[in-house]
Amino acid sequence: MIAAPAALRDPYLTHILTLSSVYAIFAMSWDILMYTDQLSLGHSFFFGLAAYLTALLNSTYKVHPILSVLSGVAVTAVVGLGLSIPFFKLRGAYYALAMAGLAEIATLTVKAYSDVTGGEEGIRGITPFTTDYLGNYYIVLGVMLASLIFLYYIAERSRFSLIFKAVRDDEVAAKSLGIVVHRYRLLCLVLGAAFAGLGGSLYATYLTIVNPNVLAIVPTTALVVTMGMVGGVHTIIGPALGAYIIVFLNTFFRIAENIRLLAYGLAATLILIFLPGGIIKYLSRAIDYFSKARRV
């Protein structure tokens, strides 16, 4: 994956891979929330918020791209922290819908204040890190891999892993054993918000354009949820993989533009029906199977 674009020298393929990496960060950020059963059906809120903030700082106020990305991440992290107060008592569908509401409000707000945000047109002319497509590819890939390692460590390899699982299995029992459940929910919310922000900021600097779609439930939240489900929830790696699959499916079906959305939707649905639990589950089973077979 590291050498492929360089070998192929294909700008379009490299672009698709870069975009996939951006979405992979976003998908992992959605998944970390799922570790404490926080289904975010408005995750585009964080992604879009950071994208717009980065765009505004960079394009309107001429802030350096790196600094604008960092600001995007910092602000979403703080917003996540602040949201933990009203969202503290919400569970399940209520939580999911409240999140969706946030994304909707943000989308409408951005469309309404067009003198600042450019309305439906969005913001253009964002300065990228570099104009070299391979350079962008490696920067985004690097950030994605670092995020993957960090989030995977937190979610699966640290002592949090056990606590997250316990909270998912039975929150009341966890509390009765002294687990301060809201502290762990808060941790996931801040991480989820910050990494979604990282994805959104990178999206803005890479594509050099943002529009209200980045905040909208459809397509952006719908996309991240599909990536997560197709890849495999509660695995971190799965949603990242899901991002590549979904972006590629989406691109592949451009060969038949008039049925693209239909074909893409159908493909995603088939994966969900026939591979419940996500692709990563079957992939790791297959790897287990073959590595055992070789040993025997």
């Binding site: 606590i163 316990a166 009341v172 966890a174 509390k175 054993l177």
Partner: protein, 243 residues
């Protein structure tokens, strides 16, 4: 100073007064049973002490400190742990991991050497050692009850509260659990048990409290309680036999 003091505690749900002006003490090292018919307020009383609910009136004192308004996770750190009537294992964790969660809840540090030893010790005492690698969802009911007790012990509690630990168990499973409770008690744990299986409880404890319609109607040794006319009428109705 008693370990636990319950002072004039009351709790209502809507118009229903589930617990009415209940007071009692538990001394350090005691094993006390609470019995009463369905709806007597036993579980509510338990939930009040363990912080799941907060009383409308009255106070609860643990080791001289007022804990009336504390949350369950704070109470665990103070030294009160409980099990649940309907078992609540972490089904997708192994037996060993279930117990580790209880360690993490109390002290936020990695399982160092003495924690490994403590884990082994708890697994050994509760008879779960050979099941430690198994997922909790695959355990039989009797062992799930042991796991409940094991997790509560793992929090390092001084006061162990067991909510109907014998409910739904076979006679041999009840025997096993009774001997486990006795072992823990002999090691110095203070234990408070709510029970429906009255026969087992009266065998186990030296002091019994009887709740009826939210009130404490009798307190005494198992023999006294068994002979008490009011208890027989209130609790056992027409059957008229205690144990």
């Amino acid at each position: 100073m008693p370990l636990l003091e319950v002072r004039n505690v009351s709790k209502s749900f809507g118009g229903l007064r589930a617990v009415k002006d209940v007071s009692f003490n538990v001394e350090k090292g005691e094993l006390v049973g609470i019995i009463g018919p369905n709806g007597a307020g036993k579980s509510t009383l338990f939930n009040l002490i363990s912080g799941v609910y907060h009383p409308d009136a009255g106070s609860i004192i643990f080791k001289g400190e007022d804990i009336t308004r504390m949350e369950p996770y704070e109470l665990v750190k103070k030294g009160i742990a409980r099990s649940w009537q309907i078992v609540r294992p972490f089904r997708n964790l192994t037996v060993e991991e279930n117990i580790k969660v209880a360690f993490y809840g109390v002290v936020f540090k990695d399982s160092s050497l003495d924690y490994k030893q403590r884990l082994e010790e708890i697994l050994q005492t509760t008879g779960l050692l050979s099941y430690k690698e198994q997922l909790a969802k695959n355990l039989p009911q009797g062992y799930l009850r042991r796991l409940e007790v094991a997790r509560a012990v793992a929090t390092g509690a001084e006061l162990l509260m067991l909510d109907e630990p014998f409910a739904g168990l076979r006679v041999d499973e009840i025997r096993g659990l009774m001997s486990l409770i006795t072992t823990l008690h002999n090691r110095g744990l203070t234990i408070l048990i709510i029970e429906h299986v009255v026969r087992s409880l009266l065998e186990l404890t030296k002091r019994v409290l009887v709740l009826y319609e939210g009130r404490l109607i009798k307190e005494g040794t198992p023999e006294e309680v068994k002979r008490d006319k009011m208890v027989i009428e209130a609790y056992f109705g027409e059957e008229g036999e205690v144990a």
